[in-house]
Symmetry: C2
Subunit: 334 residues, 2 copies
Amino acid sequence: MAKKVSLKNIADEVGVSTALVSYVLNGLEKEKRVRPEVVEKIHAVAKELKYKPNLIARSLRKGSTSTIGLIVADISNSFFAQLARIIEDESAKYGYTVIFGSSHEDHSKSEVLIDTLINRQVDGFIITPCEKSLEQIKALNQNGNPIVLIDRYFPEISLNHVVLDNFQSTYSAVNCFVEKGYKKIDMIAYKSSLINMQERIRGYKEAMKDNGLDKEISVEEVRFHHAKSDMEKIAEELFNDLKINALLFATNALSIYGLYAIRKYNITIPDELAVIGFDGHEVFDFFQPPITYIEQPLEDMGKEAVKILLDQIKGSKKTVHVELKHQLIERHSC
Amino acid sequence: MAKKVSLKNIADEVGVSTALVSYVLNGLEKEKRVRPEVVEKIHAVAKELKYKPNLIARSLRKGSTSTIGLIVADISNSFFAQLARIIEDESAKYGYTVIFGSSHEDHSKSEVLIDTLINRQVDGFIITPCEKSLEQIKALNQNGNPIVLIDRYFPEISLNHVVLDNFQSTYSAVNCFVEKGYKKIDMIAYKSSLINMQERIRGYKEAMKDNGLDKEISVEEVRFHHAKSDMEKIAEELFNDLKINALLFATNALSIYGLYAIRKYNITIPDELAVIGFDGHEVFDFFQPPITYIEQPLEDMGKEAVKILLDQIKGSKKTVHVELKHQLIERHSC
DNA sequence: CTGAAAGCGCTTACAG
DNA sequence: CTGAAAGCGCTTACAG
């Protein structure tokens, strides 16, 4: 094991103090008016010794770590995986490193993750908050930690957030159904009090009402941790004796589960049942026919979140709420 | 901003030294025979002040960070996203946190990532090495950093690794084709010198030879950074005038690209063309017919990698090579 | 132009 | 049983 090279080693080698080495290696040679030949010597020796700064030491001294804590619901879900990649790439551009964890929509897991990230002194948080995590987030905020919520937020507190225009997204999906003549439109959503789900449901309901379809409103709720079995039960009710002719899904995972069921029951799309999915997925492309879906602008979402967070870390006091526009990608399932 | 609570605050409050507080909070009260009433008092005050240890300070002092650096090729690829989730979950069980990054199969990006992770003093690395990264990895190893390579490794150096039985996986896929009567079997692989790809290709070739099909051996190579256009070109050659009757894909991404092309050219599976994919993907389930594929034991792969790495971090000197068994999931595309 | 020194928040060998 | 003190590797206000 080659022992680590420290500032002191360079200082000794060059014959100056660690202070000077620190200045030079941090580009403060002009400001501190260090002699050019010393500057050169320091750079040369640093290179020769393959000096790597110890960011842990710097962090302790500076009180900041150039690290972002990212908590998503589940990194193995493609929506979050893509978001994580964008956030990681974007953060790297500004010299920030990402530490991540998945809450699995469980508030105790989320609390453990937040604690871990605090202990690791991350400079800020990007969080997809789960149910019952309001108090944790509130406490985190009150302790002065920069936070950006993503995908969802809590109306009870005013924190930075970046979310989809959830209400509009399902509202326009319903309109798309109605324009094509579908009226018996059901929605499959997660059983969740979170704002993103509630807004998607509200968008569906309002659109139904505005189209005079109050009587047809029906939302099937799936529990996150029992998605498979709940979906099977719903499929049995819904598909055994088909009384609806259109189905709107509230997330990509729900869409996939639903499509498995639709195939199992041999339902023809869109003749027997029109369908609109959420988020986009390769499966939507391969399904016969390709599935129409509500697309989220992932790239913008990730970049905005990082931008806002870095502003906060730099001291900005203003609270920013960003609502990004969905796009309805029309294919042949509706 | 509530100011951070340190050991000193607790020590002052209780009226003891920081040393004692540190002992108690680290469970050394027995060993150090601290008086029970003091132990109790310290715990009480720590709780009251909501003390959170500063892991940065501890890391600097201890010279270890309880942090694992994870470098995958691309976190937005479901294979790596699932692996990342397993590695994260498994590491958390042992009190380790994961810092990750995607190399995008680019050795300069990989080098930057490794430097960042070294600067952050991670205790060890789990890496999916990309082409031309041998020297980086070698240097990393020579500097005494614990490393586990995953998915691929370098035959030139003996490092810990956890990989699939790549040779066997494609060998048995070819046999599966042959058993069903297919003989004109092509393979689509990445143009890569990496061992995983080379072994998958070798498995294909050897199996072809062993079945007396030397003449039919043909491997189409796709460049990672030009996958889409390369695949289109290959599809044109292969599918315009179909001269083969079976196709083996070397990764999940290649499988998906290939299936897009197969659909575009309206090729019937398995009548016109039999297909075997890699890694598994929801698309394989939805394709008509469902796609037969080579499955990797992701759970084992992630867990093994973490286990081996933690052993190394704890000082184990032995080098471990793990080769996990693939499973051929038979559906109806072959 | 440059250096000595303090200090970030811990852990731990040592002394009593 | 307990505390004073050193030290991890940096940064930076201060003094000259």
